[in-house]
Symmetry: C2
Subunit: 257 residues, 2 copies
């Protein structure tokens, strides 16, 4: 059975998509077979992996509507051992379309459970910046939630709400759900506040916060315009090295589980 990680945070622009693409690539680089599922109607994870919107035939929307299986919708990317179920704008209508269905929170989980055993070892789900039905579907399907957290004041404010939501999903929809970890992103050592945020978060959440901190690194934000993960765009840069370190920290932690 694959390990399913949902990458979620309702605060916008904190590095969810960047973490999905680059952690996925780093896990594949160390030998894992990775599937990304792009649940954000913006489709940034699909674009960031070079899948242009005009070639997206089947998508995560079709999977949620049971029009297609994951096996049919998943497409390979330029990254060895990384496939993706792309996103389309149809996802904007998922909430209204699924609202009346009894199993509306478990559509994604059902699709993942139908995958043949051994197809993937990791599944990463990129979420939109909201706590809507798409994000709930992702949490219902997941073993763990990975929370990217920008080292900024507004990002800290949303953290307790997110933890409450995970609690609610665990109580009602997915008893096995846990916080995989919080990964601090876009850290700029010149910003005094950032250091303060890191100290606060480590104090508040202790071992739930990954040791690895992702630095702010311009190469990370340039890579998507070439349709590539930063590991393919510039393997030696600080951003790539941090994501490789995060991948091995995740594997280490899971060995201990």
């Amino acid at each position: 059975k694959p390990r399913v990680l949902t990458i979620a945070n309702q605060k916008g622009g904190v590095g969810k998509t960047t973490t999905a693409i680059n952690l996925g690539t780093a896990l594949a680089a160390i030998g894992e077979r990775v599937l990304l599922i792009d649940l954000d109607p913006q489709g940034n994870a699909s674009t960031g992996l070079g899948i242009e919107s005009r070639v997206r035939k089947l998508s995560a929307f079709d999977v949620l509507m049971s029009e297609s299986t994951i096996a049919e919708a998943a497409v390979p990317t330029d990254v060895p051992r990384v496939s993706i179920v792309p996103a389309t704008m149809d996802l904007l209508g998922a909430e209204i379309t699924l609202a009346a269905q009894r199993d509306r929170t478990h559509r994604l989980k059902a699709a993942i459970d139908a995958l043949p055993d051994g197809a993937y070892s990791y599944i990463l789900i990129d979420c939109p910046p909201s706590l809507n039905l798409l994000t709930i579907n992702a949490m219902a399907a997941a073993d763990g939630v990975l929370v990217p957290l920008q080292c900024e004041f507004f990002a800290l404010e949303g953290l307790s709400q997110l933890l409450k939501t995970v609690e609610q999903v665990r109580a009602s929809v997915n008893p096995a759900l846990e916080i995989q970890g919080v990964v601090l992103t876009m850290f700029d050592p010149r910003n005094n506040l950032a250091g303060q945020v890191i100290r606060d978060v480590r104090q508040f959440l202790g071992p739930k916060v990954f040791e690895t901190v992702i630095p702010r690194n311009v190469r990370v934000s340039e890579a998507p315009s070439y349709g590539k993960p930063v590991l393919l765009y510039d393997l030696k840069c600080a951003g790539s090295q941090a994501y490789l370190k995060l991948a091995s920290e995740i594997i280490q932690r899971e060995r201990l589980l």
Copy 2:
């Protein structure tokens, strides 16, 4: 009648809240009477103006539910001539609660139209990072949409979808709606891509893009942790000066309308 500007972009973390708070403060500094309406369940605009969540009695949710008028829900802030209708987490339930109402897209407009004449000269509405019923309500109530755009690749990708949505709202819900302008935010001259994004956007949208560009400036991101707009936290910094320039550019443009 007040000029109503909706600050919207479904891409997360592009500077919507920062622009609502600081443009509002800058407009007040040059003599306008400003009301902010915080439509984001995260409530960052409310916190960034020093309204802590435990003192928020009435909120934008009560206004949308017609439980309260704007006059009752609006509270003063530490900034002279700036009031705010704060946000609470209840807003997360607005979409489901309003889904069955016939006038669900015009609730906010009705509340704004009920305001006594001359109460405010500008109303700024901060939106969540999605194209949901809250954002549609804001667009239905607005004269113009102000689009903060981060100088990054993923932000550019979402722009055409946002423009399409504005078109749809104009065709179905608010024929008077127009794009007030696109304001480029968090510009870092050391980032080659940022310069490219600015050239692309000016070429694509021409005069719809404000001359004023908001620079990335650490003082801007420090101010909210003190519950203050950056203009009160550090008036001389590059961020404050840019928002003052943006306010006068908006006033100039409106004089020409």
